[in-house]
Amino acid sequence: MLSWLENQVVFSAVLSLVLITGMMTCVAYCIYFERKISAWIQDRQGPNRVGFLGLFGNFHFWGLGQPIADGAKFFLKEDIIPARVDKPLFILAPAISMIVALIGFVVIPWGGSYMLGETLMNVQVANPDVGLLYILGVGSMGVYGVVLGGWASNNKYSMYGAVRATAQMLSYEIPMGVAILVVVLASGQLRLEEIVLGQVGGNGLWNIVLHPVSFLILLITLFAETNRAPFDLAEAEQELVGGFHTEYSSMKFAMFFLGEYVHMITGSAFICVLFLGGWELSFFGIGPAFPGTGIEDVGLISVIIKIGVLAVKVAFFIFLFMLVRWTLPRFRFDQLMRLAWKGLIPVSLGILLLTVFGLYMGWQRSVLFNLGGEIAIVAATLGVVVLANKPVTGRQDNMPAVTQPLGG
């Protein structure tokens, strides 16, 4: 019956269709939950009015119809293209932003292998040799949407937003790449599926246990790469109106918006695959995997369980993204740059060096060596910071000293 599906290409095509649909729904509800969580944090109720056409009387399903209304609103709004903008690039920019965000997820292994009829399928749209680098490459293309949109808008606020975004993304790609390299070195693989297999319970520990600091660095840089608070300087409302998307309206704005959330989902899935065992469910890789989530489980039910496990992990990270957004104030730009260049890059390079040394000595699986070494590096960094007696996020040397009384 489903024999036509027993071909990885056809299967991948169907899977990508399903994933895009699912992703768009998820994104719509991410926006809903973003509004809800921000409201709850600020002791408000959040959207709770839009139900489903009032079909259920006065019961509004906690406003779950809101994403549909939001989407309809975006489609029906007037799409303004200001007079003096660079029209081709103005139209191209949101498309780039959206497409780049969407093609990132094809290499994410969503649910291990699936025995369909007689054939073993990868529940993954594509499994290239360089899956991990592919994500990095696609991520590095993401800045084009922001840069071109900001430049084409012919607006100084958009321009400043674009300039900030460029500098920020270029800077944070370095610690991101180095943090990922640590995993590559430790697992000896560039294929994401293989990286997950290396972390399945019984096979090995989750990478977060071995490289917690790398995990933290990757998480921080993901915040920066997705342009989320506290790194959302590109769209700092207080200073830049809307930043790079000041001039955008209607569906073009929505594409920037959706792109950001898709980026969030892909990034969360990526970090789960690299550090948290992807679709695998066990206690940090200690002991065997829970029934139904092992490598040998390739039935339909276990695939669904695996996808569910990854979805829960991704949902946790999305929640974290939102929580942090509504908790932390934005960085100042010099603080942002200093964090990347003087904080994250040296630490990540140190960890890289440590991992290479461990690899050379054959200690790459040793918890004691990796964990101890990373903690030692952080401690050393902290020691330098304390000895220098300068706050990491404080004032620079060449800024004038505060002599005038502040406030009062």
């Binding site: 040799d129 490459g137 590095s140 430049w151 674009a162 300039v163 460029t166 004038p400």
Partner: protein, 259 residues
Amino acid sequence: MIPYILYVLFALGGAAIYLAMPKPSGSQRRAALVLGVGVIAGLLALMSMHFVAPNSNNFFFYMFAGLAILAAGRVVTHPVPTYSAVYFALVILCVAVLLVIQRAEFLAVALIIIYAGAILVTYAFVIMLAQQSGAVSTDTRAREPLMAILVSFVIAGAIAGKIEQIDAVPVKMTAQVPQAVTDVPIETTLPATEMESGHTKAIGEIMFGPYLVVVELSGILLLIAMVGAIAISRKQVPIEDTGEPKLPVGQIGREVPPF
């Protein structure tokens, strides 16, 4: 015979670029486009006749090769620098696709990350910073179009003529790795069916095997260049003394603990 057709095509291509160059008197865009597309079609036709006939397998090669050449032409001829950068990115992407077709995924992705993701973004950054008040007139027209086109197309024609003389059958290039590193020589050009695992490992073993010294040397060179660039660009600008008397902290008023 074929080299001469190639030379003629290259000459026509050069003429097309010259016509499309932004000039104060206005450029002949339409003629340039017709000529350029004709040249690309001629090149691809020549290739398809002489080397590999187009089929469903190399359809993408012909498509992206043509697109890459067209985009490269626009990089040179577009009057707005930002567009040139965008077209350059398009060239990089097309070349990356060509590399993927050759099953060199690692090279393709590395090209995208380094060129499209870092270098070109930096270009765009600089262009945006430098031209906040619109393009300068010197940037919107070519300075020495004739000489530049002459030189570049003579070089390109010479290379193409030489390549044409190489036997059309794909050469099996074998990098002879010293026995001390590996027992078997690493084959970099394998038939597609044999390359399930891709090229990444092979590239790594070659780069850090026989060519280790070269790789490290180029790395050091880049590091030196970076240090030099920082040393040139970064100057400590002393904060000007405004002449206002600076009050020492705590001299007046009462101090309160922060927050």
